[in-house]
Symmetry: C2
Subunit: 199 residues, 2 copies
DNA sequence: GTCTATAGGCAGATAGAC
DNA sequence: GTCTATCTGCCTATAGAC
């Protein structure tokens, strides 16, 4: 099952480096030269695998979306209760911060006006997919009486996504993981039903 | 009192254009050529006013911080109650979104690794100044029984700043103002004491 | 697949005339 | 203060050898 194809091949290595650079420096903050130097290749070799930076960016987004969607599915199969799923969701962001990165789509949201047009829709669809997943979790949690919130679950889902993205955005420059954790904890604590709520 | 100096002079015009470009496209997303073209000047003229892009960036930050601090003072003199001040604070962000911009410091937080070093501290101090102001408002609101939240006010202040930054970050690419408003409303609603809380 | 070599463009920046 | 002219460097991208 491992290494079906493209596990450690050059294209994958390029994507790995590009992804890290995009998450740390932004899509406009790295060049083909940066990737080439790190992989001890030439820029020309990169163009063989990805026609241009725009195409590389699209490949980046496609892979990122798939991976995130897989991560959400993994959370669902690993954790049963809604509150636990929300915590696990926040932990996905925490993992990104631990690597001193920004969420790729959060970064691209900031750079939205300057990224290649084909990447833009993918950014929006990433947020929507996250919101849809959270909406289902919130509906479940409310139905089971574990979660408590006013208004449509979809609105709260949007609030969660943007709050966590923001917590990542602000915590990263401070290099302070607890800054993220406290913000995330506070956002999610407000959704817990009184019986399981804050002391 | 108006036009003491630098009200419509070239340096101010340069800052105005640079600020908008930085908030829309990012600090790495515009060039001296962009500013020069918009003001019908040459790049050389810009270098007369600001030695380099790094110096322009510093001037940008200084002015932005001052302006924001003035805006917070204005809120305090205009609104008395803590809940109203929080709403007014969120409205500051809303005003940025209405101009289809990102918060300058939120944008620079994303670009943190690539911006000139002297600008970095200013970004962090901007967030801290916001948090300090919010902390005072939260303390006031809790003392008066208008606001309700668990833990240190400073923690909740951080949560508010990052949540609003995130709401701006995500709402802007969607071009959807209500997306921001709903997120902001939900974040702040959770802080209102039960008597004035959500129906 | 990866290389060398190179093209064409734009970036930030400077010198010196007016 | 603003200009023209120019520099150096990096960017994305391509042609063609191996």
């Amino acid at each position: 099952m491992t290494k079906v194809k493209g596990d450690t091949d050059t294209a994958t290595q390029i994507l790995d480096v590009a992804e890290r650079l995009a998450q740390v420096r932004g899509f406009n903050g790295f060049s083909y030269a940066d990737i080439a130097a790190e992989l001890h290749l030439t820029k020309a070799a990169l163009h063989y695998h990805f026609a241009g930076k725009a195409e590389l960016g699209e490949a980046l987004m496609t892979r990122y979306a798939t991976r995130f969607s897989d991560a959400l599915a993994a959370v669902e199969s690993r954790v049963d209760d809604a509150a636990g799923r929300l915590d696990a969701y926040a932990d996905l962001y925490l993992g990104v911060l631990r690597k001193e990165r920004m969420c790729l789509c959060g970064m691209l949201a900031a750079e939205y006006e300057t990224i290649p047009v084909p990447m833009r829709d993918t950014v929006l669809r990433f947020f929507e997919a996250n919101e849809e997943w959270l909406t289902r979790v919130l509906e479940q949690g409310r139905a089971e009486g574990q979660l408590q919130f006013a208004g449509p679950p979809a609105d709260t889902a949007r609030m969660i996504v943007s709050s966590l993205e923001g917590a990542l955005l602000v915590a990263r420059p401070f290099g302070d993981i607890t800054r993220f954790q406290m913000a995330a904890t506070q956002v999610l604590a407000g959704l817990r039903a009184a019986s399981t709520g804050v002391v």
